[in-house]
């Protein structure tokens, strides 16, 4: 994960195991990150990413995650999708 000027960019092609590390990394920088951007140019490898994004938002609602602000969004390899949060 890259964090440049409080903007964290995460790679959507990470597998589950890598996502686990990522989640810890984000957690340690949770107060530093202002915005989280998903790089999906390589496709989405695991649907666990979606839950992770929601968890980030739950942990720090001030973090801006553009994907979660949209009713639907298009991702490489998945197409048009939406997240329905309980």
């Amino acid at each position: 994960m890259q964090v440049i000027q409080s903007v964290a960019t995460v790679d959507a092609s990470l597998q589950n195991e890598e996502l686990s590390i990522l989640s810890q990394e984000i957690f340690t920088k949770i107060d530093e990150i202002k915005e989280l951007v998903v790089d999906e140019t390589q496709g989405v490898a695991s649907s666990a990413l979606f839950a992770l994004l929601c968890s980030v938002k739950k942990t720090n609602p001030n973090i801006n995650i553009a994907l979660l602000n949209q009713s639907a969004f298009r991702l490489q390899g998945i197409g048009l999708m939406s997240l329905k949060r309980g």
């Binding site: 589950n16 195991e17 996502l19 686990s20 989640s23 984000i26 957690f27 949770i30 490898a45 695991s46 649907s47 666990a48 979606f50 839950a51 992770l52 929601c54 968890s55 980030v56 739950k58 942990t59 009713s71 639907a72 390899g77 998945i78 197409g79 048009l80 999708m81 939406s82 997240l83 329905k84 949060r85 309980g86």
Partner: protein, 705 residues
């Protein structure tokens, strides 16, 4: 009249009242678009109109107001802000409603011009608003309905999600090229250990892509999702995945893709044709409309109850046909005559019975009380008529591109309802004239004249003495009397060799066929109008006058009696004739002092009345009752008040005062301007009622001669 006709009459009357009620509110809305109370009022009126129209098979009206109501209902919602564009649609829609109502009333088969055009505008506005509403997904009604909706094959389709999918993907289910393709909705309920068992959504996506097109997918995240601290990537927090998949393959082929996961998880696949999508949507739309209507009805009832609740404590009202009111009024007239007959009956008087006299007095008081009350029933404020005029000025102002403010005053002044009904047309005409001819053509012209760019028109009502006075003033360019005179001479109304005063010149405006307008427009300038205005006012036993100052503005003043039916009168005698002078015009009666009377050769007789020189009218001469010259010393003088100046009536004797019911002389009195009508006295005799206005006209003409 059969029952249906009676009901129809009530319906038509109610519709007219609703329309009259809505018209001024729309203009208020233009000024205060945020006022939800006004929108609610208009909505309620249109809602009732719709119900009535449909009940009576007025399909053109019903069809139109149905959509108009839908549009209004959108703006009843809190947070929905009205812009001037929407208010303009409301106003133009209302115009169509009024027109189509008159078409229905006349039984016309055709549609008013612009009916379909405005209807389309309304529908477009509704569609635009609804699409926003769907996008915002904020409608409670919508959510409730889609939650309750089920597909007719008893298969649970999440209608809300389906609609969102259609909205997001712009999927054209009506596209003919879809052929045999079906929409497959695959819903997978997933356990939280699927990652441990090798689940990978990419497998499904790849396999499905070979069979068709994945339009949309929805991942449902567990509501018990932990925060990052406890987040575990081995656990799936995705409760379900729904795929919207378009394919022409058999259902079995699609089921095969999910075969391995279906062994341990719940997988539902619903296949629907594009036609079925359309049916679902239609059904849903119906349910939404039904639900909305029910909710609105409930809301309307609640609001109505709320609105009425506090008023019920203070006053209640019932609807009475105006014809019944007229009958009651006539009956009261007869009662007044009967009471007068009893109180003046010589036989009763000669009994000298104090108790009987007391009862007769009581009867007189009660009769007067009832009469006043019934009179009051006919008196209504001029407010509604005035508010209608705001619309007139608004429209003409827009057409002529002249910014104008109409300033109203005295809207609560009461006048006989019969007169109110007949005042609209003359007022419309005068106001249109004020805008079209009175106010300067351009802002620049006004600024150059040292005025504000915006023109002002003042419409006021007031009671003055026995009269009801309406004034229409403008701060425009005033009347160019020289131009009027030239035109009057061209048309042969004025003589070339006569010098006319400004007042006389302005009078030419009221000649039939007179117009100074350079061009004929649909607003004015046809040369018909002011003469018709004058006739209408005279029919109401009124008078119209004009005051104007070139470059400053003009004032048209309409002077009318307060009521057309009963007057309080002073009974007077001339020889053997009994006459009635309307009491409200009487200043006082007195015996003249001969030194105060002056004769001016050719100009008549005058009296110095408290420092004011007033003309004397010998009524016996005016009415051709006899040719005798009655000495002033043997007369009684009555000073009467009039807008154009007081004058003195000479009579033989003052008999008394009584309320009389005015009976028309019909065609007989058309050419006798000095007589307003007749009254049947208590004695059974007939008395002529003097027309104070007509006598003043006679005096003015005498001066001219």
């Amino acid at each position: 009249m059969n029952k249906h006709d009676r009901v129809m009459e009530i319906f038509l009357q109610e519709c007219k009242e609703i329309l009259e009620d809505i018209a001024p509110k729309l203009l208020n809305l233009e000024q205060t678009p945020d006022n939800k109370e006004i929108i609610n009022d208009i909505f309620r009126g249109i809602h009732t109109l719709k119900g009535n129209a449909n009940s009576f098979g007025f399909t053109k009206l019903g069809g139109f107001v149905h959509y108009f109501e839908d549009l209004l209902s959108i703006y009843r919602q809190e947070g929905k802000k009205l812009q001037s564009k929407e208010v303009d649609i409301f106003i133009r829609s209302f115009d169509i409603v009024e027109l189509v109502f008159s078409y229905e009333e006349e039984g016309r088969e055709d549609y008013p011009q612009d009916y379909h055009k405005i209807l389309e505008e309304i529908k477009t506005s509704i569609d635009e608003e609804n699409s926003q509403e769907t996008h915002e997904n904020s409608s409670v009604v919508f959510d409730e309905v889609v939650m309750e909706s089920t597909y007719e094959h008893n298969e649970n389709i999440d209608i809300s999600q389906l609609l969102t999918m259609l909205q997001e993907t712009k999927f054209e289910y009506k596209n003919q090229e879809l052929g045999e393709k079906k929409l497959h909705i695959v819903e997978m309920h997933l356990d939280n250990d699927i990652y441990l068992r090798g689940y990978n959504h990419q497998i499904f996506f790849r396999l499905l892509s070979e069979l068709g097109e994945i339009l949309y997918s929805v991942y449902e995240i567990d509501e018990n999702l932990p925060s990052l601290e406890d987040f575990n990537t081995e656990i799936s927090y995705i409760k379900s995945l729904t795929l919207y998949f378009l394919s022409d393959k058999d259902l079995m082929d699609i089921e095969d893709v999910f075969e391995f996961i279906a062994q341990e998880h719940e997988v539902n696949i619903i296949s629907i044709t594009p036609k079925e999508i359309e049916q679902i949507l239609l059904k849903t739309q119906e349910q939404i409309s039904l639900k909305k209507a029910t909710l609105e009805q409930e809301q309307t009832i609640l609001t109505e109850e709320k609105r009425l609740a506090p008023q019920e404590k203070t006053k209640s009202s019932i609807r009475v046909e105006s014809a019944k009111l007229d009958e009651l009024f006539d009956s009261i007239g007869e009662l007044v005559i009967a009471q007068s007959y009893i109180s003046q009956n010589e036989q009763i008087r000669s009994l000298n019975n104090k108790e009987l006299d007391q009862y007769v007095n009581m009867l007189g008081k009660s009769t007067r009380l009832i009469q006043n009350k019934v009179m009051g029933l006919r008196m209504i404020p001029i407010r509604d008529t005035f508010l209608k005029m705001r619309r007139v000025v608004r429209d003409v102002s827009q057409k002529t591109d002249k910014p104008i403010e109409l300033i109203l005053s005295g809207e609560d002044t009461e006048v006989d309802k019969t007169m109110v009904d007949k005042l609209s047309e003359p007022l419309i005409h005068l106001l249109r004239n004020s805008v079209d001819h009175g106010i300067e053509a351009t802002k620049e012209e006004r600024i150059a004249a040292g005025k504000e760019p915006e023109g002002n028109i003042y419409l006021s009502a007031s009671h003055k003495g026995s009269s009801f006075v309406i004034e229409i003033s403008d701060d425009g360019r005033g009347i160019d009397t020289q131009k009027i005179l030239r035109k009057a001479r061209e048309k042969g109304f004025a003589k070339e060799d006569v010098n006319y005063t400004d007042e006389e010149i302005v009078e030419f405006l009221f000649h039939a066929g007179f117009s100074t307008a350079e061009a004929i427009t649909d607003i004015s300038g046809r040369g018909v109008g002011l003469d018709a205005v004058k006739r209408s006012i005279e029919d109401l036993r009124g008078k119209i006058t004009v005051e104007t100052e070139f470059g400053v503005g003009s004032t048209f003043k309409i002077i009318l009696p307060l009521t057309l039916a009963i007057i309080d009168g002073l009974t007077v005698r001339i020889e053997d004739e009994t006459l009635i002078v309307p009491t409200l015009s009487v200043v006082e009666s007195f015996s003249p002092v001969l030194e105060d009377i002056h004769h001016v050769k050719g100009d008549g007789e005058f009296i110095n009345y408290r420092g004011e020189i007033l003309p004397i009218v010998r009524l016996n001469k005016l009415l051709n009752l006899n040719t005798k010259i009655i000495p002033f010393a043997e007369s009684t003088f009555i000073c009467v008040d009039h807008e154009r100046g007081r004058y003195i009536l000479q009579v033989d004797e003052l008999l008394g005062r009584q309320q009389v019911v005015i009976k028309s002389l019909g065609l007989l009195s058309n050419n006798i301007k000095e007589i307003a009508g007749v009254a049947i006295l208590g004695t059974g005799n007939i008395a002529l009622i003097l027309n104070i206005e007509g006598i003043r006209d006679y005096l003015d003409l005498e001066v001219v001669r």
